[in-house]
């Protein structure tokens, strides 16, 4: 009858049983240890990256590693300059952000402020569907559908370019931008809108001068999260960015972002060799870059949350 185990519960013994529960003590210790797990794994990742990546930064001075433009991992002696990869990451991220932010924020405003609830509820699962698409599938779509189109439309030698990757990344960062911005807009108190209507504003003026400014920190967090996603995305850029090692000058050049450089190089790298360490050093830079972006996003988001709940 009782949904708990009576034989162990106090119900079976003395009501004021002071019998020490060793089993329970141990379980609570285990629970505490697991509570720390997120910190342990995050620090573990950082530790591994430092340990395997630092040797590369000792061998190649850090400014040469960061700003060198030649990546010859197997020549003798090898040269490790990651500037082309870094610039490639920047290009695809810029293209992705320039496309995804206006479309994503626009869609969020439409869903939160204009569309009837029923329409918004119907669109939501479709956006969630997109966030479930594996990145390799997006890479595949970019490879077979988008890249031939890019090649023909822009008259390029190859359709595998930074712009192709940027467009696919934009699609992949849309779900997070839309949903976080939409939440931020919905959190704006109804009083704000009513007050603005009361002053004779049109609906658009309410949206543009009241809702969007009030939700701005949430929207900027959404943008940061989208940027973080674009920087860290691997499969899509590996498959459609072109993989060229030269320093990319324009987004229409084929290029190799940092994530792709790791993924395509690690299979050939001798364990513990110079290339192995250099790839971990790229991983370290990626880790720190995304950590920075995510920390800011989390900060901004927390401030937004407090804005309308305090007082």
């Amino acid at each position: 009858m009782f949904p708990f185990d009576r034989s162990n519960g106090a119900a079976s013994g003395s009501l004021l049983s002071a019998r020490p529960r060793w089993g329970e003590k141990i379980i609570e210790k285990v629970i505490f240890a697991n509570g720390m797990l997120a910190i342990i794994v995050l620090l573990g990742v950082l530790f591994i990256l430092l340990r395997q990546g630092i040797p590369a930064l000792v061998e190649t001075p850090i400014h040469k590693f960061l700003f060198g433009t030649a990546w010859y991992p197997v020549s003798d002696p090898p040269t490790f300059g990651i500037l082309p990869f870094f610039v490639a990451t920047m290009w695809v991220t810029v293209v992705s952000t320039v496309l995804a932010v206006p479309i994503g924020v626009g869609a969020a405003i439409f869903l939160a402020e204009i569309a009837p609830r029923k329409v918004a509820d119907a669109v939501k699962p479709i956006v969630e569907l997109l966030s479930g698409f594996p990145s390799v599938v997006m890479g595949f779509i970019g490879l077979v559908l988008l890249s031939p189109w890019i090649q023909n439309t822009l008259g390029l030698n190859t359709g595998l370019t930074g712009i192709t990757a940027g467009i696919m990344l934009a699609m992949m960062s849309l779900p997070i931008i839309v949903s976080v911005s939409e939440d931020a807009l919905r959190a704006v108190p109804e009083d704000f809108r009513q007050a603005a209507y009361g002053l004779g504003s049109t609906r658009w003026e309410v949206i543009w001068h009241v809702c969007v400014p009030s939700a701005l920190s949430g929207i900027s967090a959404a943008v940061m999260l989208g940027v973080g996603r674009a920087i860290g995305e691997t499969m899509t850029v590996l498959m459609v960015a072109g993989g060229a090692l030269a320093l990319p000058e324009l987004p229409v050049d084929p290029m190799m972002p940092m994530t792709a450089a790791i993924a395509s190089g690690i299979g050939n790298a001798v364990q513990g060799g110079p290339q192995y360490h250099a790839l971990f050093a790229i991983g370290l830079i990626l880790f720190l870059l995304t950590l920075f972006v995510n920390l800011i996003a989390a900060r901004v988001l927390e401030r937004q949350k407090r804005k309308f709940t305090a007082g």
């Binding site: 708990f4 591994i48 479309i103 990145s135 390799v136 860290g232 690690i266 972006v293």
Partner: protein, 284 residues
């Protein structure tokens, strides 16, 4: 003057709303388009042989059963490692902490863990599981790697599900003398189980589609026979799709689209399952 002003304000509004509606369409049309296109191109290659046979002629013919099984094992392995610890961490965060610096630190760590690029988890798995624990390029090492990545999700969803259990349930149980852990074990966790299950299914679906980490820790394009031991190298659907579409020249289109369709069908099936569990739980 005044009237003209009003007119132009409404004109601005109309233009703005059209632009916003177009951006919403730009979000959903490609999604629907991609799904329709994938079904149209992929369904002809879906037949019994494709789903139940091993690859032949270096992957250019035959089926993809080893890759499907590999992905299923990976999903199970991931959840086996990520769920129990995720639930316990969720219990800790909802039942045993107060809002202090440690809790804030843990929550920060979870958020950042979720943002670590998947390829970095691959490097982590390579250094720790493949080489450090000497598990080799194997299903086991890959499951552990994906579990480390899934951790942020299982912890967050468990914590939210446990927090959502009404306080009265705990108070009622504690009031009749049941201990804290007994209350959690027999009252709180069963109430939270649909929410925890939703998170678990989503984490599995994520693991099914994850590619970059398993490139690093042991996926192979062609492995003779089906995966038998957790210490074997393995095939997996996302890695298979990557290889057939980006690396093998002359790969027949129906193989590529077939693999893509099977993968996306699996992933979306689990996403939908999670959605159904969530809706059912809410109704209860």
């Amino acid at each position: 003057m005044e009237i003209k002003n009003i007119k132009s304000r409404y004109l601005t509004q109309r233009v703005a709303i059209v632009i916003l509606a177009v951006s919403a369409l730009l979000v959903i049309i490609p999604v629907i388009g991609i799904i329709i296109y994938m079904i149209a191109n992929g369904y002809s290659s879906l037949n019994w042989e494709f789903l139940t046979a091993s690859p032949a002629q270096a992957g250019k013919a035959g089926g993809i059963l080893p890759a499907i099984l590999g992905t299923v094992y990976l999903m199970l392995g991931t959840i086996l490692f990520a769920l129990p610890v995720g639930i316990m961490a969720g219990v800790y965060l909802s039942e045993y902490t107060r809002a202090n610096w440690l809790t804030r630190l843990i929550n920060m760590a979870i958020i950042n863990l979720a943002g670590v690029p998947s390829i970095v988890f691959g490097l982590f798995g390579l250094a720790v599981f493949v080489l450090g624990l000497n598990l080799g390029m194997s299903l086991l090492a890959a499951s552990l790697t994906l579990a480390a990545q899934a951790l942020a999700m299982t912890i967050t969803t468990s914590r939210e599900a446990i927090i959502a259990v009404p306080k009265e349930y705990r108070e009622g149980s504690l009031a009749i003398g049941v201990s804290k852990w007994q209350t959690i074990r027999h009252i709180v966790l069963p109430q939270a189980s649909p929410g925890i299950l939703t998170g678990a299914i989503l984490a599995m679906s994520r693991a099914a589609g994850e590619t970059a980490p398993i490139i690093v820790v042991g996926a192979a394009f062609l492995v003779g026979g089906l995966p038998v031991s957790p210490f074997d190298r393995f095939m997996a659907l996302p890695y298979h799709l990557y290889t057939v579409s980006a690396h093998i020249p002359g790969m027949p289109g129906e193989i590529k689209w077939g693999v893509a369709l099977v993968l996306i069908a699996m992933v979306l099936f689990f996403n939908m399952l999670a959605g159904i569990v969530r809706i059912k739980a809410r109704k209860r």
